[in-house]
């Protein structure tokens, strides 16, 4: 058992920290918050130049070939600064699905393009009646001559406004909640019959609603095997979920720092309000929540890296914890800072808005509690 980051891990984390500091600021976030995309391509490209798009992909596909745990430090720093660039969707969802489930030719075609920053991808899996369940899939793909025809709706596709390609979960057999009978397809943004409705999310980033109206895809667009898409998809979702937990822990740390700094300086009744025990205890609770979240997140990363049997469970522990804690920490931050928190001038508000989105992405606390119970077998 060893949760320590190596000096290589720490070096990457530090370079991520200085990148975020140099290329990003809360001022930039304020400007981007009402922008339809919520990020800029120049910063995304710079991230690609540093090799961060292909951090964990093998060298043969243009990647750096680093262990999964290297993503941890990177994400913590993205989370601290609330960097909005669509790294997670492209690297952890889109690219990772190709890496883990794709054919050799799909990998050769797609991964180098992701690595260079020229291609962005995401996954479309949420549906209106399924809440966060991965196997709830009604979007149908039916055999149509040489290929397939896809119909139905997906909602809240992460970074859907900027993705060039979507990996879509479709129903090819069985009933709507069956775990078998789900097939993955890669669908380009400009596919005929695909309607894309942009959506703004509370954290200032973007998503989209997708409506497939008899979208034709060739057989070569299938990712992995017919009817057996769910295992790969779940595995990738687990990795993405661990990843967002790392980001959330970074966000919690920053929110705590900002709050503690503020209450140390803000004077009421002739004293810094941070001297009041009522606030000190709340600050201490924020810290406790963050620590537990961080440990659960580290455990999840280590489990994924080691491919332990219980890794899915470890991920649910981490996400259940992080979703609840991030909201708790940021709400408490509001209480401690007072009216200033409600302004755009203050940075702290952006953390609550991110906590609300990140808390929901890849399943909220209740979803992961339920999933944990199922995985545990009770």
């Amino acid at each position: 058992m060893d949760f320590e980051l190596t000096s290589e891990h720490l070096m990457l984390k530090e370079s991520a920290a200085s990148f975020v500091k140099k290329e990003h600021s809360f001022e930039r976030l304020r400007k981007l918050h009402n922008d339809p995309l919520g990020y800029t391509d120049d910063v995304y490209k710079k991230m690609a130049e540093l090799g961060w798009m292909s951090l964990i992909y093998p060298e043969e596909y243009g990647g750096l070939g680093l262990d999964f745990s290297f993503a941890l430090g990177l994400l913590e720093e993205f989370g601290r600064g609330l960097l909005p660039e669509p790294w997670l969707s492209t690297v952890m969802l889109g690219g990772n699905l190709v890496l883990m489930g794709g054919s050799e030719s799909q990998k050769e075609e797609i991964l180098p393009e992701i690595a260079s920053g020229d291609l962005k991808m995401t996954a479309a899996y949420l549906e209106d009646d399924g809440m966060y369940e991965l196997n709830f899939c009604s979007v149908s793909a039916t055999k149509n001559g040489e290929g397939f025809s896809i119909s139905g709706k997906k909602i809240f596709v992460l970074d859907g406004c900027s993705a060039d390609k979507f990996i879509v979960t479709t129903r090819t057999s069985g009933s709507v909640t069956d775990k078998e009978g789900i097939t993955l397809f890669i669908v380009p943004r400009d596919a005929a019959g695909l309607e894309i409705k942009p959506v703004k999310t509370m954290d200032g980033r973007n998503a989209c609603m997708l409506e497939f109206k008899d979208v034709s895809v060739p057989e070569s667009a299938m990712l992995g095997e017919l009817d057996h898409g769910l295992p790969v998809f779940s595995e990738v979702m687990d990795q993405a979920t661990a990843a967002i937990c790392a980001e959330m822990v970074g966000g919690m740390s920053a929110a705590i720092d900002i709050t503690c700094e503020y209450i140390s300086e803000r004077v009421q009744f002739g004293k810094a309000i941070g001297t009041f025990q009522a606030l000190q205890h709340k600050a201490a609770d924020m810290f406790i929540q963050k620590e537990l979240s961080a440990s659960a997140m580290y455990y999840a990363f280590a489990s994924i890296e080691e491919k332990t049997e219980d890794r899915a469970m470890a991920v649910s522990v981490a996400k259940a914890k992080c979703s609840a804690a991030y909201l708790d920490v940021t709400k408490t931050a509001f209480q401690l800072c007072g009216a200033i928190a409600f302004t755009r001038e203050a940075d702290i508000g952006f953390f609550l808005m991110r906590a609300e989105v990140a808390g929901i992405l890849f399943g909220d606390t209740d979803y992961h509690l339920d999933r944990y119970a199922t995985l545990k077998g009770y």
């Binding site: 709830f136 709507v176 703004k200 004077v267 509001f334 302004t343 609300e356 339920d370």
Partner: protein, 393 residues
């Protein structure tokens, strides 16, 4: 003891219900739940409808344009009003809700006749200018200075976080007229015409785009001494009385009940494993806990109203309404946010409709309920020291 309304009370309730149903325009129902903006024109229109019926000021005497309701009728009216989904009107929030009752209690006859009819008719909109950059919870440390010059006070200084100041015509405020004694002494309660020369109102950009609050700067603003409420230097006592009004009115219990019902409606629409979320055993329990807590708070209001009927004034123990009610409202909005599933990520996407908008905005905006009008920390200290008589040091 009796749990049901009397026959007269029932009759009154039915009348109020029927009238509200008939006369509240559909486009304003449920529009202010998350504290979000309701078109000022619509607000004014509805204000007029209520004013014409004579129901805009339940607690005000008829001679001044009020409804002249007794305590129980006021409670029934306010309750029915909010559970019907009728909006919290900015045109009456600070006037009918705060400064109006205070003028009835402490104002001169001239002040009552001059200001109350206009606030009830909707002619003038009021805002509350208490807070300053360095006087939040520690309100008594306020520094905005007012110097006596003949029969006028001359104001210098700054107020901040003033809700709806950008729509308001008048502001009630606290200014320092003497700084020689304790900080609670030498404060004067003053009514200021915001059109006076030297007043600058600057909106502050808020996190959600709803009702931004403003900063107000005074540079050499002349206010007649006739606009002082109560006595010069005695404003703190008046402000304290206002806080009592604020505490009771800051919590329209009916609005809470309405919000709880909204959660249920959302959870009926949202599907979990293909079935309505409200049927999920876990969600049901979380939801019924809110209903139960809300009912207990409602019961507490009944207790309080009963006491009012017998003429016992509510004391510092009402602090707990503010703490508990505010925190409960936050829990309601939190569950409302959960109840809409992925739509909880939405930010101003009109196509998702009002329920999503309210749930997402409400989650953020409800955070302010435990901060303004005396924060939860301050209120708990009041309960500990003034109700439980725990030692202060």
């Amino acid at each position: 003891m009796q749990v049901s309304y009397s026959q007269d009370e029932q009759k009154f309730r039915d009348e109020v219900r029927a009238w509200l149903k008939e006369n509240t325009p559909d486009e304003i129902i449920a529009q202010t739940l998350g504290g979000s903006t309701l078109d000022p024109e619509l607000q004014k229109k509805y204000h007029k409808i209520l004013a014409e019926k004579g129901w805009i000021g339940p607690a005000f005497p008829k001679e001044l344009g009020g409804a002249g309701f007794g305590e129980m009728e006021q409670f029934i009216f306010n309750y029915e009003y909010s559970v019907s989904g009728a909006p919290r009107l900015k045109t009456q929030l600070m006037s009918v809700g705060m400064i109006g009752p205070l003028l009835l209690q402490f104002g001169t006859k001239e002040q009552q006749e001059r200001f109350i009819p206009d606030m009830l008719s909707g002619e003038t909109i009021w805002c509350q200018g208490f807070s300053e950059p360095n006087a939040g919870s520690d309100l008594a440390s306020l520094k905005t200075k007012a110097e006596l010059d003949g029969d006028e006070l001359v104001l210098y200084g700054q107020k901040t976080w003033i809700s709806i100041a950008d729509h308001a015509d008048w502001m009630f405020t606290l200014v320092r007229t003497d700084s020689s004694g304790r900080k609670q002494q030498g404060i004067t309660f003053l009514l200021v015409d915001l059109k006076s020369p030297g007043v600058t109102v600057r909106p502050i950009e808020a996190l959600t785009d709803h009702a931004p609050f403003c900063e107000i700067f005074f540079d050499n603003v002349r206010v007649p001494v006739a606009n002082i409420v109560g006595k010069m230097h005695d404003g703190w006592n008046i402000a304290k009385a206002l806080m009592q009004h604020e505490r009771l009115n800051a919590f329209p219990i009916g609005e809470l009940v309405y919000a709880v019902e909204t959660v249920r409606k959302n959870a009926e629409k949202t599907k979990f494993r293909g079935k309505p979320l409200i049927e999920d055993p876990v969600f049901r329990r979380k939801y019924s806990l809110l209903e139960i807590d809300c009912q207990a708070l409602l019961d507490t209001f009944f207790m309080l109203i009963s006491q009012l009927k017998t003429g016992t004034a509510p004391g510092p123990q009402t602090s707990f309404l503010k703490v508990y009610g505010g925190e409960l409202y936050q829990r309601v909005m939190d569950l409302d946010h959960e109840a809409i599933g992925s739509y909880g990520m939405s930010w101003y996407n009109e196509e998702f409709g009002n329920d999503v908008h309210q749930a997402t905005m409400g989650m953020i905006n409800s955070r302010s309920l435990t901060i303004w009008g005396g924060s939860s920390e301050i209120q708990r200290t009041i309960i500990a020291t003034q109700v439980l008589n725990l030692p202060r040091k």
